[in-house]
């Protein structure tokens, strides 16, 4: 992975919101490379700029200084090469599951039959085939998020950006979706940047856990997760997992406590 160019590169990225006395530094001098096919999770206390970092890669927010590169080119606005999955699902409530998944395909100018075929494939992948013609209001939280994942996958992005995607789900659904995510990743090896506040989740999914500190948001520590793939329950319950988990926990919470005290 070292020999390749990074898939995502934060080059001294600073993001300031507002001006003058109201100015708020969400991110300061962030330098970070994410390799192609790597899963990186980002954790940190609220206000550490983790969502800002993701929005910058997504092209939903501009940098104040420095630059953000995806595939070696500077990010200017969003694009279908970077799929985003939001915590609030962000499904269009007036469209059925199928129409939601087809939304991005339509924008790519795909014909009706091709669109339908692709949509059906990804709806099946997330196990929603029986609900293809259901409106989001009739889906559970877990099903909504699966639909959002299918919608993001359908346009075949090379990077997946996930902003606390499983945060609002119950523990069991969350674990299932984590396993599904890893299962899909094992086949397509997409680069994933995953924001979470759940330390277990961060360790379970990642090659590396990026710990950010708050006020101003900045890089605190990068923790390598030296656990084999495929990950499963045995790994989740292993002592190695616990060791890494404790390191991350310590980096996130203990240090931020000291700072605020």
């Amino acid at each position: 992975m070292d020999t390749q160019d990074p898939k995502i590169r934060f080059d001294n990225v600073t993001k300031v919101f507002g001006e003058g006395v109201d100015a708020f530094t969400a991110l300061r001098n962030l330098n970070l490379d994410i390799a192609d096919g790597e899963i990186v999770t980002v954790v940190g206390p609220s206000g550490c700029g983790k969502s800002t970092a993701m929005n910058i890669v997504a092209g939903l927010q501009d940098v104040t200084s420095g630059q953000c590169l995806v595939n070696g080119t500077e990010v200017h606005g969003p694009g279908p090469d970077r799929g985003v999955i939001f915590q609030q699902y962000a499904l269009f409530p007036w469209l059925t599951v199928r129409k939601n998944v087809e939304f991005g395909l339509k924008l790519q100018g795909l014909g009706k039959d091709e669109r339908r075929k692709r949509a059906e494939h990804y709806i099946a992948l997330v196990g929603l085939s029986d609900f293809a013609d259901t409106l989001p209001k009739n889906l559970s939280g877990g099903m909504k998020q699966r639909c959002a994942i299918a919608r993001a996958y359908a346009v075949n992005p090379s990077v997946l950006l996930m902003d606390e995607p499983f945060g609002a789900l119950d523990a069991l659904t969350r674990v299932r979706l984590q396993d599904q995510l890893l299962d899909t990743w094992s086949r397509d090896k997409r680069t994933i940047m995953f924001i979470t506040h759940d330390v277990d989740e961060a360790v379970y999914l990642a090659h590396r856990v990026i710990v950010l500190a708050a006020r101003p948001g900045r890089l605190q520590e990068i923790i390598e997760v030296d656990l084999p793939f495929p990950r499963n329950e045995d790994i989740r319950l292993s002592s190695e997992f616990t060791k890494i988990r404790n390191r991350v926990w310590h980096a996130v919470y203990t240090r931020s406590d000291k700072e605020t005290a």
Partner: protein, 264 residues
């Protein structure tokens, strides 16, 4: 045995039985007519009794006057309402989408919103003549003002996440407008329609009371001169029924068009 039949699935029991709300509604309505009857028969009130009103209703229906009056009023309302909303929706979208347009248009709307449309009538008659134009103009104004505010509120309250979700899937501003902003603001627009239709209907009757040669308001004005209370009642009831029907039509189209909403 009765215990067993009580335990039947509730769905089966309800089938064929009118819902409780409907039954109560009918009882309430019948009681109202009864009270009206009692008040007039006992001489407590000078109002015409329900029978006299029903007879007049039949007469006016038979000689076609009621239909032509109702038709005249409805035609004014619908013309004014259709033009009003047809202008309000693009203006509302413009105001919601472009801050400049909002700043330019909003003061005018806020000003005219506090002027009752009826207060415009004298001016409208002087400048537009005494035919249909001044009446349709004030109805247009009434429908326009409530719909434009609702549309603009709808556009500015579209959830930012929907817009972001569309953007990251590669949508242009135009697509976002057509595929996200319009459907997301439809519930607001329909609320505006409902209010707009109500105020258009209220405005037409009042406008006809002031200056018209036809319509339900005009008929009441005439009946007043001859102390013809049953005709006034017939007109009032017709106004109520037509208003109710139009409101139901909007509510029905609301459930059809925005059934995707998560309702409480």
């Amino acid at each position: 045995m009765s215990v067993i039949s009580d335990a039947e699935p509730p769905d089966q029991k309800r089938r064929g039985v009118p819902p409780r709300a409907l039954v109560l509604g009918i009882i309430s309505f019948a009681a109202g007519i009864g009270l009206w009857w009692l008040a007039t028969v006992s001489g407590l009130s000078v109002l015409p009794n329900p029978l006299a009103v029903a007879i007049r209703f039949g007469e006016l229906l038979a000689n076609g006057q009621l239909l032509s009056d109702a038709g005249a009023s409805l035609a004014r309302v619908l013309t004014g309402f259709v033009i009003g909303t047809a202008v309000a929706i693009p203006v509302g979208f413009l105001m919601g989408w472009y801050k400049t347009a909002r700043s330019l248009i909003d003061p005018w709307i806020q000003f005219f919103r506090v002027v009752p449309p009826l207060a415009i009538i004298p001016l409208a008659i002087v400048t537009l003549g005494i035919d249909e134009k001044p009446k349709i103009f004030v109805i247009f104004l009434a429908a326009f003002l409530s719909s434009v505010v609702a549309t603009y509120q709808g556009v500015i309250s579209v959830d930012k996440t929907y817009i972001n979700a569309a953007r990251v899937l590669g949508a242009s501003d135009r697509t976002i407008f057509a595929k996200v902003v319009i459907p997301a603001s439809t519930p607001f627009i329909l609320v505006g329609f409902r209010i707009g239709l109500g105020s258009a209907w209220a405005t037409v009757v009042a406008a006809e009371l002031i200056a018209a040669q036809s319509g339900l308001g005009f008929r009441m004005q005439q009946a007043q001169l001859y102390y013809d209370l049953p005709t006034i009642f017939v007109s009032l009831i017709t106004i109520g029924i037509l208003g109710l029907i139009m409101d139901r039509v909007v509510v029905w189209s609301d459930t059809r068009l925005t059934g995707w909403q998560e309702r409480m």
